[in-house]
Amino acid sequence: MEAPSPSGSWLERQRCIIDYSLQSLFRRRTKNGLILIMYVLLIFVVSSVFFITGSLTVELFSTVDELPDITVQKLIGGRQTSIQESYFPAIREIPGVGDVQPRVWGYFYLQELQANFTVYGMDLNQLEAGDYQRIIDWKPVPQNTREHPDFRMVIGEGVYRLLKEIQMQDSFLFFQPNWESAIPFDIIGTFKSETQLQSNDLMVMQTEGARRVLELKPGDFTDLVVHVPNPEETEMIALKIRRYYPELRTVTRSQIESTYTSAFNWKGGFVLSSMLVVIFAFLVLIWDKASGLSPAEKKEIGILKAIGWDTEMILSVKFWESFIISFCAAICGVILSYFYIYWLHAPGFKEIFIGWSTIYPEFKLVPDIDIKFLLLIVTVTVIPYSAIAVFPSWKAAITDTDFILRNN
């Protein structure tokens, strides 16, 4: 038998080490299998959080362009009240302002169904004629709508489903205890499901009808939206409005964007930080398991050293063992999570993120995968696990061969 040629390259050595690591993992498949399962679950939760916040943010940002540049509200005693027509001319005059539009909208709470609806007033004829026409499933116009053109509405899918439960899907009676009589509204259409995120709990009605329901006086509006053609000027104009009228509050689109993103991230972070407890417990478990290397494992290390393996190589084997487990767990966890979020639509998880309302949109989450996100998963999970697994292995690897072999 001739002597082998001098040591192969680093790459070839790593290949041999990885070969051995895989074999070693397989030989202890019960123990490693359990660790793998726990690890996959952990990554599954972490990546689900990331996926859902990512997708919802994408969804949100796709609608953000529709948001008004500046929303102007009136506050009295820190609470929002209706804003009067008299403000409009002055605001319109501010240089840089493109257009000013008053809005009538609000919330209507239905006790019986414990549901909060968003009521929005506009000219429904414009809705029928304009771009939005195609996002509505129009219903045949009932006989008596011509007598009450103010009392028509288009509702979202969520509203429709609820009203169907109380058999009011064609005509709904609005009533408050302080009203003289109920006001019947005819439902002339429902919003299509592709707009669910925005329209699910929405009731769009004729402006005058909305005024009645929301009890707004003539000449009063809920708020104003200001259109600013040049985005660089938005902050300045908002500032001017507040200066002229200290009782008015302005909310810019970028402020809403930030708030939503923060809220998603906050919720995501909240879930994650409660995961930190689990992560910590997991790390302790791993340390405990790994530091108590079984006598068989210790003996194996002793044998390897006796036949000429370096401590470095043994540490490499242990490193690759933990890396392979954590990396496979990462891949499996991410794939499972992808399946859960985008195929099964995240039952149970979605509700934590998208709202407090009893009406949950059924919209489909759009996959948003970023390479940065995968890097994050690796940092949070693979690195701590691989790093910690090295210490206990080192302890075994440096023990005198003789000592191990005599005592095991």
């Binding site: 040591s7 192969g8 070839e12 080490i17 006796a306 036949i307 000429g308 401590t311 003789d402």
Partner: protein, 227 residues
């Protein structure tokens, strides 16, 4: 003048030096083994022969003294480099064989080759050669724990030879063997000696010491070489 393959110069090993439980298993041991020789380190249990053998085999480092293997002083070498030298030149057969019980015969034999970064094909080829030589081919996929004592010994010897070394060290190789297996073992050693291997065996078995292939016997007592 034959080439000296193994040499020790006043080698001493001290455990727990300076403490109340200080132990000196080997003291001032000096010996030399030439190429192609078969030498036996003879002595009763506790005479230090296993420790001395382990030091020559780069398993343990001496506290004092120098050890030279194939011309290279190894006592001061850091573990990494001592291991490299060991891998290249020395084959060791342990008293308990120390095979990995969950691995197959083939995998056990190939184990010393992994640090070389050798390709799987080349590893296999060398292992198959040894399997044939030691008549282990029918057992190649068996787990080592399912083998008999004699078969395990042959696996241990194969493993020690796979790196192409020409120096073989064996520690009490016949301790757990019956007469027939002992004779088989000595037969293998003789074959290797004929091929030019240098052999150093630590044993107190008279059958080994009195075998015809043995060129010299070095006696140890209480950690010192007495003859």
């Amino acid at each position: 003048m034959e080439e000296t393959i193994l040499k020790t110069v006043k080698v001493t090993k001290i455990y727990n030096q300076g403490k109340h439980n200080e132990v000196v298993p080997v003291r001032d041991a000096s010996l030399a083994v030439g190429r192609g020789m078969a030498v036996v380190l003879k002595g009763p249990s506790g005479s230090g022969k296993t420790t001395l053998l382990s030091m020559i085999g780069c398993q343990i480092k001496p506290t004092y003294g120098e050890i030279v293997v194939k011309g290279k002083p190894v006592s001061k070498l850091p573990e990494k480099f001592a291991n490299l030298h060991k891998r290249q030149h020395i084959g060791f057969v342990f008293q308990q064989f120390h095979l990995v019980p969950d691995l197959s015969v083939l995998d056990n034999i190939m184990l010393p080759l992994l640090p070389w970064g050798m390709s799987p094909l080349e590893r296999r080829r060398r292992a198959e050669e040894l399997l044939t030589e030691f008549e282990l081919t029918p057992r190649r996929q068996f787990k080592v724990r399912d083998l008999s004592g004699g078969e395990q010994q042959r696996v241990a010897i194969s493993r020690s030879l796979i790196n192409g070394c020409t120096v073989l060290l064996a520690d009490e190789p016949t301790a757990h063997l019956d007469a027939q297996l002992t004779a088989d073992f000595l037969g293998y050693m003789n074959d290797l000696k004929q091929k030019g291997y240098t052999i150093l065996i630590a044993s107190h078995d008279p059958v080994v010491c009195e075998n015809a292939m043995v060129d010299r016997i070095i006696e140890m007592k209480n950690g010192e070489i007495v003859s």
